[in-house]
Subunit: 401 residues, 2 copies
């Protein structure tokens, strides 16, 4: 299958590009390095530097992998994107090309505006590139479980039948996200759903939970092929942050009461899920929504796991609750369905002690590179910065203390 | 009260600015003439030319009305908007500043992109201008009943309690709009709801049905103060189009089977509703949603009314079904609640024969100005134009035949 991976330099993008190529698909990986730029500007560099995309593709081939085509450019530039679609004629596109950090989207006006503009325009352009230049191309879009928020009823897979005053209809499951970043994914879903029912696009929207892990079959061949491992408060997800804290001897920082429950998955399962979605495509005119995670865990449960396994490795791990920089419920009902991908054949990798130990051992090899100042929250939801004053240059994207 | 009216040159904006000023409020009307530009580019000029905003304000004062301040500029330019808010310190803002045409938003890539960018950025900037420069300012946002689409259950006022598997919660009523324009209003609602619950803004979102009419107390003093009366397929709403067709001797064009049912209101009731919302503001942290219409009518019912009244005036009105250029249900369940504004004191002006006769008589005075080529649909939902080819200049915004 001919597949374009947009955001192909990202935490998930590059591992996905390698996996699809290893699986025999023709892959074009596309990125504009927006995440690299934001990471530099916010002092949120990953634990170890990763080569840029053309070099990654070269190293992958050198390690015995197949060729991954690469294009550097911005999906918000429609002429660029349309040209890729016309030239490559993809049968599927994996759309990861979004600003992915919730804290970044809550820093202030400029960061919020960049997140809204970038994410919506990228999705809009993907829709039109498919419509104009690759009709029939299956769009596999990365959404987030965060779109749903934490409702007091069960979370279904994207849709819900509502019985109301003696009548019934089926609707998009109502969404209420906890950050502007997550809200842009809600807007993406609305936009995709409009164009699916109007122009008959075939779309799979993957509502993914927080991902952890840094090992994949392809990256294990050469450490320079590893995913970008962010452990900071801007780009790092909670499990990856806890792993680095355990190794660095910093107490695991639980935000508030720690009852925040979400559905988690190993990056190995992300790769499985995306492959399953691609190889079992949505129909024309279908917006298929799949909840992409393998187990529900609270922040406290994750902290306890990492602490227990870390202590067994002699790390002496402490856990400390700190003031929650976000605005979210810290104790809440959470029961989210996630049957669709299991039905397609997903074989989950749960977060076992062995898995945690393996990740801790990998992080230990890079212990000397850990920058402690990157770990504690630097962005408060309640303290977003105003826009730059008119007539003055825009504020630098450096974070507030 | 100090009120900024964004989109103050529009069909509703200018009458609102005058009404608020007449009611004793301090009004700043803001516009960038986007609608005028699009109307020129698509050959959709109104039935009679209306003066630009500064001239309208001058004529209004000349007719004995109070002063309306005017500012010409783009709400998508945050420096411009922030400066207005800082200087004027509004207690309320009425946000009409959006590209309002559904057919325009379905013409092709450029028109869709302009609609998405303009409408979302305007709303985003209003949120931040309030947050940064006028905290406590009540945002009165014009949404549309079109956000809900035509569900098979009753349409509630913005919110719905869902009972599901033995548990309950209250959600934004699920939305599924019929054009990209209407979808941008869905995105607006999502964005407002996120920032209301995160930053405690006070927002009233008015889900308005199609408006008709061209007479208001203030405009009746001087015909040069009339609203922009569009009767074309791009900016004209169905009732205004039928009035002009009846006068011009063109059969009233019913799209498809004509069972499309919506909630309608006279522009006099729009003015009442906006005033009621302003003078009974939402609380901080509240997204108050009110369905703004006074009666449900199908397209066939409206055609019959206009035909009957037109014939009584000797106009010899015919009705003709034509192929529906849109993608919508032509026979459907529709029962939408609209109690909130009645509870605040709205006194509806239903679409009586007298009201229709009064409108027909006004249009008759301008009969010689009717351009017949503007009335039949020029935009098909199924025939959206591709984006301009890379390296070539963008396509002109002229409509497809």
């Amino acid at each position: 299958m001919r597949v374009i991976v947009l955001g192909g330099d990202g935490y998930l993008g590059w591992p996905t590009a390698m996996r699809l190529a290893a699986r025999g698909h023709d892959v074009l990986a596309v990125d504009n390095y927006l995440r690299r730029r934001i990471a530099r500007e916010t002092d949120s560099e990953p634990l170890f530097a990763t080569p840029e995309l053309p070099e990654r593709a070269r190293l992958f081939e050198e390690s015995g992998g197949p060729k991954v085509e690469v294009a550097i450019g911005d999906c918000c530039d429609f002429a660029f994107l349309a040209d890729l679609f016309r030239r490559f004629q993809p049968e599927a596109v994996v759309h990861y090309a979004e600003q992915p950090s919730a804290p970044y989207s809550m820093m202030g006006y400029e960061e919020a505006r960049l997140t809204l503009d970038n994410n919506l325009t990228a999705t809009f352009n993907v829709i039109w590139a498919v419509k104009d230049h690759a009709p029939g191309c299956h769009v596999v879009k990365l959404g987030t479980m965060g779109e749903y928020g934490t409702p007091n009823i069960d979370i279904e897979e994207g849709w819900i039948e509502i019985a109301h005053k003696g009548r019934k209809d089926t609707f998009l499951y109502p969404r209420a996200a906890g950050s502007l970043y997550h809200t842009t994914k809600v807007l993406d879903t609305d936009l995709l759903w409009f164009y699916v029912r109007t122009y008959g696009l075939a779309v799979t929207d993957l509502m993914q939970g927080p991902v952890y892990g840094l090992s994949t079959a392809e990256a294990d061949a050469d450490e320079r092929l590893l995913p970008n491992f962010h452990y900071d408060d801007i780009f790092g997800t909670v499990v990856n942050r806890f792993l680095v804290q355990a190794v660095a001897g910093i107490p695991l920082t639980v935000y508030g009461r720690g009852g925040q429950t979400r559905g988690y998955l190993n990056i190995l399962d992300t790769l499985q899920c995306v492959l399953l979605a691609l190889e079992n495509p949505a129909a024309a005119g279908e917006l298929r929504i799949l909840n992409q995670f393998v187990e529900q865990l609270s922040v406290n449960e994750i902290a306890e796991k990492v602490q227990r396994v870390g202590n067994a490795l002699g790390l002496g791990v402490a856990v400390r609750s700190i003031e929650n920089p976000r605005k979210e419920k810290e104790d809440h009902y959470y029961n989210a369905k996630h049957q669709g991908l299991l039905d397609l054949g997903l074989e989950p990798h749960p977060m076992t002690d062995d898995v945690i130990a393996g990740m801790l051992e990998r992080v230990l090899r890079h212990k000397g590179r850990i920058e402690r100042g990157r770990i504690l929250p630097r962005v408060k939801w309640s303290a977003a910065r105003s826009a730059a004053e008119p007539g003055r240059p825009p504020a630098p994207a450096g974070v507030d203390a």
